[in-house]
């Protein structure tokens, strides 16, 4: 039975909500990377897509091993797309569904804040287990870490000012190399992942010159 465009759009809305609302937020590009072959073919092969999904789920090709959240997105997208393949919809309707879903994922991303704001909390090294209570550390005023004129919309690391120095006009606190704890390296990796590209480049450059700083806290900075 033919499905109306309105119904397809409703289904797309549901699928987009599932993909964007889970613990792993699937991006438009990841969804399209999986279904692009199916969508661009004049004679889409549903079995081929099903086989692709199955192989991806089994880890074939190494795509689910990719870091930066990409592997998780692939897994989540494969799971949801596989469910849609089982539904009673024609190939053309499926194409339309995936197309609308991709569009909705894009619109949602553009409409939402650039980055998910995490709850402020003390930074924990990756090696520290979740059950361990984090040490309560003194908060560092945001002005000590904010580059002037820049709005940061994500969690920031605070810097302990045991040996403050000014670097390239930015207020960045540094310590001599010998005080660098192992946690610093993990925290820097976290910072790189969590800050937007321009901020990241600035910070990485600054740190490249300085190499070390002691981190006592990281926190969300409101606009």
């Amino acid at each position: 039975m033919a499905v109306t465009q309105t119904e397809i759009l409703k289904k797309a809305e549901q699928l987009a909500s599932t993909l964007a609302g889970g613990t792993t937020k699937v991006g438009k590009n990841v969804l399209l990377s999986i279904v692009a072959d199916f969508m661009s073919s004049p004679h889409p092969d549903r079995e081929r897509l099903r086989r692709t999904l199955q192989l991806l789920q089994e880890g074939n090709g190494g795509h689910t091993k990719r870091g930066g959240g990409y592997g998780d997105q692939i897994r989540a997208a494969v799971r949801e797309v596989a469910k849609e393949l089982g539904a009673d919809t024609s190939d053309e309707e499926l194409k339309s569904l995936f197309g609308w879903t991709a569009r909705l994922l894009l619109v949602r991303r553009e409409g939402s804040p650039a980055r998910e704001v995490k709850k402020p909390g003390p930074w924990k090294p990756a090696s520290q287990s979740r059950s361990e209570a984090p040490a309560v550390l003194p908060a560092v005023p945001a002005s000590t870490v904010l580059p002037q004129g820049r709005i940061w919309d994500d969690a920031l690391l605070g810097w302990h000012l045991s040996s403050p120095a000014i670097f390239r006009g930015k207020e960045v606190a540094v310590c001599p190399p010998e005080v660098a704890p192992p946690e610093l390296l993990a925290a820097l990796k976290m910072l790189k992942k969590k800050t937007e590209l321009r901020c990241k480049a600035e910070v990485v450059k600054a740190l490249g010159g300085l190499r070390v700083a002691r981190i006592v806290d990281w926190r969300k900075v409101e606009k």
Binding site: N29, L32, S33, I34, A36, D37, R48, R51, T52, L55, L56, N60, G61, G62, H63, K65, R66, G67, G68, K192, K193, A201, V204, K205, L207, G208
Partner: protein
């Protein structure tokens, strides 16, 4: 080391009104250069599409990252080739940073790279078409395993430009404290063989053409390098050997130069670039770039 950071010499960005591409200028050259792009032994080129496709190789079905196609045939998009050449040209000139909004070139005032390659709203004087197989069957499509890409640490390689050499990607084994080759786990379609494409240029001076050819790795021995195209550069791949085949000039005089004549003309323009003021300033940087790009294990 696989990744190198390079910078150009310090200096102001000279800007001037760009040379037009739509009116013939006296003393300048317009025409097309047909050239081939061949992957040397051990190299492949893999222009990605962002798609995952079901393919087959010796071990059966495999889901791989798809490489670019046009009408089903393997291609290297011309935009990618132009970008690769422009990057080298920018490194070898006092050019602007196109991504720096505060100090951008405009249609009325362009740096050397923007004048030649164009900018938003200005088409420039060089255009490159998609590279297609030179002959039927001259390009083989394979599925290879490549290392999973990782986020590079920008602080480890300074400089304004980052280039990769021909060395395979390595990682530090934290237990044994030794550097080892990164495991190759990611399936990706790759091309090997010979492709060809065409570069069209308008109102270019001999020096500009010489610099353009040098940016494609067509210089004398000490500055020769494989032009890097497509993905997997981090694993020392993507290198192609550029070879000029046919030069068709439409201005200042119509001429068609093939084989040795074509090579001789290209070499002459390269010599003129080297003997210019640009050459005295940037030749050492070109040698440094060639050394970095051609470094192997």
């Amino acid at each position: 080391m696989a990744r190198h950071g390079l910078s150009r010499p310090q200096g102001p960005i000279p800007r001037q009104s760009p040379v037009p591409h739509d009116r013939w200028q006296p003393g300048c050259f317009s025409g097309t250069l047909l050239f081939s792009l061949a992957t040397p032994p051990g190299q492949f080129v893999s222009p990605g599409t962002g798609r995952l496709v079901l393919t087959e190789n010796d071990s059966g079905e495999v889901v791989a990252q798809q490489a670019a196609r046009a009408a089903g045939h393997p291609v290297i998009p011309g935009s990618g080739i132009k970008g690769a050449v422009r990057t080298v040209f920018e490194l070898l000139s006092f050019s602007c940073d196109p991504f720096l909004a505060a100090d951008r070139c405009t249609r009325a005032s362009c740096c050397e790279a923007c004048s030649l390659f164009g900018l938003l709203g200005w088409s420039g004087r060089v255009s490159l078409g998609d590279a297609v197989p030179a002959r039927p069957g001259s390009v083989q499509v394979q599925v290879r395993k490549v290392p999973i890409p990782w986020q590079p640490d920008g602080s480890k390689t300074g400089g304004d430009f980052r280039v990769y050499d021909l060395e395979e990607a390595r990682m530090l084994d934290p237990e044994r404290k030794v550097w080892m080759k990164r495991p190759k786990e990611l399936a990706r379609e790759v091309f090997t063989g010979e492709l060809e494409t065409r570069m069209t240029f308008w109102n270019a001076t001999p020096e500009e053409l010489g610099r353009l050819f040098l940016s494609m790795g067509l210089g004398p021995e000490e500055t020769r390098f494989l032009l890097r195209l497509g993905g997997v550069k981090y694993d020392g791949q993507g290198g192609v050997q550029v070879t000029p085949r046919v030069l068709r000039l439409t201005s200042p005089r119509r001429a068609t130069l093939e084989a040795e004549e074509c090579e001789e003309r290209c070499a002459r323009w390269v010599r003129m670039a080297r003997e210019s003021a640009w050459g005295s300033r940037f030749w050492p940087r070109l040698e440094e770039l060639a050394n970095a790009l051609q470094a192997t294990d």
